[in-house]
């Protein structure tokens, strides 16, 4: 696997770190017809909050200061810091805010600097598509990715060879991505995203897709990227993987940190709470 130099402003200047202080994030809900939604959702949400604290999704409420706008509080008052060398796993229910937290750390959602500082260059594997245009061919998507990273044309060729070899798509590389099967798209997206070793790697759970042969080669490639990264943050429901890779687990529930500690400890508590819930 080849490593590529990074664009000028991404050059690692100091060791990577992430510091969050009282970090909150709310989504405004504009396009769902706030007025009718307000009546139905607001009342319902309030009831469910009171009834069932371990629900899916963030709190739904009215945006303060602005009348009629509904908002979902996806993350509330998170405080944590991640130092270089740490491998973090995020666990929690569906909709607990794991992917949203990844997006915030990846800089996709803007947060004020006093609440979150991220040092080091970040690569996020959040969507399978990773920004691929499905109408374009695989090769064109590789070119786009190279431009996005600010690679020179020589490096671009190198990237193309590397990805071509890994994804092993044959002639399909010259066809539009929309014709790919989902497994093929994952191969290409995965190959692209893992071709460049970042300081901070943020990863959502989709990387488990693909056939057995792919899984084996993916794991090998991924572990080399993970090894090179200073900080890893992954979300997964696959507890053995988390046990194998992570040094620390943050357990999110309803956008808040429920537990934050060493891997075995948190996973044990998490498992007992899940079995308790199932038992009820």
């Amino acid at each position: 696997m080849t490593t590529f130099p990074l664009a000028d402003d991404d050059l690692p200047t100091r060791s990577a770190s992430i510091t969050a202080h009282d970090l909150s994030l709310s989504f405004p809900l504009f396009h769902g017809g706030a007025r009718s939604l307000k009546k139905s959702l607001f009342g319902k949400a309030k009831k469910t909050i009171q009834k069932n604290p371990a629900r899916t999704g963030g709190e739904v409420g009215l945006a303060p200061g602005e009348t009629g706008v509904l908002e979902v509080r996806a993350l509330s008052n998170l405080t944590f810091s991640i130092a270089s060398g740490e491998r973090i796993g995020l666990i929690g229910h569906n909709g607990a805010g794991k992917t949203t937290l990844l997006r915030v750390l990846g800089g996709i959602f803007d947060t004020p600097p006093e609440h979150l500082t991220v040092h080091g260059n970040v690569v996020s594997l959040i969507d399978t598509g990773s920004g691929m245009n499905r109408e374009l061919t695989g090769r064109e998507n590789i070119m786009l990715h190279a431009r996005h990273r600010g690679l020179t044309s020589a490096q671009q060729r190198q990237l193309e060879e590397d990805v071509e070899q890994f994804a092993n798509l044959g002639h399909f590389l010259n066809l539009p991505v929309r014709l790919y099967s989902s497994g093929m798209a994952v191969r290409l997206g995965f190959g692209l995203a893992t071709a460049i070793s970042p300081q901070i790697l943020l990863m959502d759970e989709w990387f488990m897709a693909g056939d057995a042969q792919f899984q084996a080669s993916a794991k090998e490639r991924l572990s080399s990227v993970v090894k090179n990264a200073e900080i890893l943050v992954i979300t997964s429901h696959n507890l053995p993987i988390l046990l194998e890779w992570c040094t620390r687990i943050i357990w999110l529930e309803g956008g808040r940190i429920k537990m934050d500690g060493p891997t075995e400890e948190v996973i044990k508590t998490y498992q007992t709470s899940v079995t308790e819930e199932l038992g009820e």
Binding site: D9, F27, P28, F30, H31, A63, P64, G65, E66, V69, R103, G106, G107, I108, F109, D110, P112, P113, V122, S124, I126, D127, G129, S130, G131, N133, E135, L136, E140, M143, L144, R147, H148, G150
Partner: protein
């Protein structure tokens, strides 16, 4: 005497106008604030009015507690209340000013990060260019002529319109067709398509924006590139017309270059205004496209400004007129007057001011809107 009589009348009228103006300004200010209040909330998540309300509530509560305390010992006197007043008003002032401070700090931060976004975007200009080119290519993927359809459709439009309107307006085809061909390509790609693309420049980028971090400026550059490319494809038609009639524009035609540069700057600022606005309010794009339809008829695109006679000076009120004229004038042989140039420059400046403020205030929330 008449003079003296006139003064109070004048001042009264003046005062009246001033009041109307002030109301309008406050109204505009309020509506702008309410539009973007979500973009820049106060740190404690309450708007300025809320602060005032909460302070007033606190004041009322304090007054109640103090007066009830006073009532225990002595009968309540207005004097006691008065002594309390200054202390309470400083509470309000302090609240308001601290909120004002954080607000201005936020504004400063927002404009700095907007500038940073523009800077980062221009660093990635190669990506923006590639995206724009791929957009155009994709639009015609599978067709045998490809992007040349842009040229062909323009040719057909100009040919048919030229024949019909030259008859209608009793114009000489040799003078009318060059004028029309330039007007049409400027209007179609430079204004109509540009404005509509500006509306959707952020909305269409939604999926890639949520997948990875990209400066918003890249999307603007992408749209600029797409428009420039299709402009390049349509410009073939007027060149053909000029060659056909054997017209050679003089050296003054070079004035087109600064004018086109101004157009590119305007397109950029239009993206900064319409991009966030259309992402937030999905009713804006159809409104814009209907407005363009109306503007087409009231702007001298297919007709000539000289047809209006003396009334043509009112055309300066039409922002599209001066912008069209600074490009079209040098090519059709009548150089635009200085007032037209000044007008165009002022419009561009205004667009940039509005654009930057809109972009800076909405940038941090754009990811939620698209």
């Amino acid at each position: 005497m008449a003079f003296v009589k006139k003064i109070p009348f004048f001042t009264e009228e003046f005062h009246h106008h001033a009041v109307i103006l002030r109301t309008l300004i406050t109204f505009a200010n309020r509506s702008l604030q309410s539009i973007f209040s979500h973009a820049l909330p106060c740190p404690d998540n309450s708007s300025r009015t809320n602060i005032a309300v909460s302070s007033v509530n606190r004041l009322a509560m304090l007054r109640m507690t103090v007066s009830s305390g006073l009532q225990d010992k002595t009968p309540h006197t207005p004097a006691g209340d008065n002594r309390l007043e200054p202390a309470l008003s400083t509470v309000i002032d302090k609240d308001a000013s601290s909120c004002e401070q954080t607000r201005s700090k936020k504004k400063f931060q927002a404009s700095r990060s907007a500038l940073h976004d523009i800077h980062q975007g221009f660093k990635l200009w190669r990506l923006g260019t590639l995206l724009g080119w791929l957009d155009l290519k994709l639009q015609f993927r599978g067709s045998s002529v490809g992007p040349m359809w842009v040229t062909l459709s323009t040719l057909i439009m100009i040919g048919s319109m030229g024949l019909v309107y030259a008859r209608l307006f009793h114009m000489n085809l040799q003078t009318y067709l060059p004028y029309l061909s330039i007007s049409i390509i400027l209007w179609r790609t430079g204004i109509s398509d540009m404005l509509q693309n500006a509306c959707t420049c952020f909305i269409t980028a939604g999926s890639s924006v949520r997948a990875m971090r990209l400066p918003w400026t890249v999307q603007i550059l992408r749209m600029l590139m797409r428009t420039t490319l299709s402009f390049g494809l349509t410009v073939i038609v007027p060149i053909g017309v000029y060659i056909w009639f054997g017209i050679v524009p003089g050296i003054t035609a070079l004035l087109v270059l600064p004018a086109l540069f101004l157009w590119a700057l305007n397109a950029f600022s239009c993206c900064m205004i319409l991009g966030p606005l259309c992402a937030r309010y999905r009713d804006v794009p159809p409104i814009i496209s209907s407005a363009i339809q109306i503007a087409f008829y009231v702007t001298p695109v297919i007709w000539n400004a000289s047809q209006l006679g003396a009334r043509s000076r009112w055309l300066l009120l039409n922002p599209f007129y001066s912008l069209l004229e600074i490009v079209r004038g040098p090519l059709t042989g009548d150089l635009p007057s200085r007032s037209v140039w000044i007008c165009a420059a002022l419009i561009s400046l205004t667009l940039w001011c509005i654009g930057f403020v809109t972009f800076a205030r909405s940038r941090s929330r754009l990811a939620f809107w698209v």
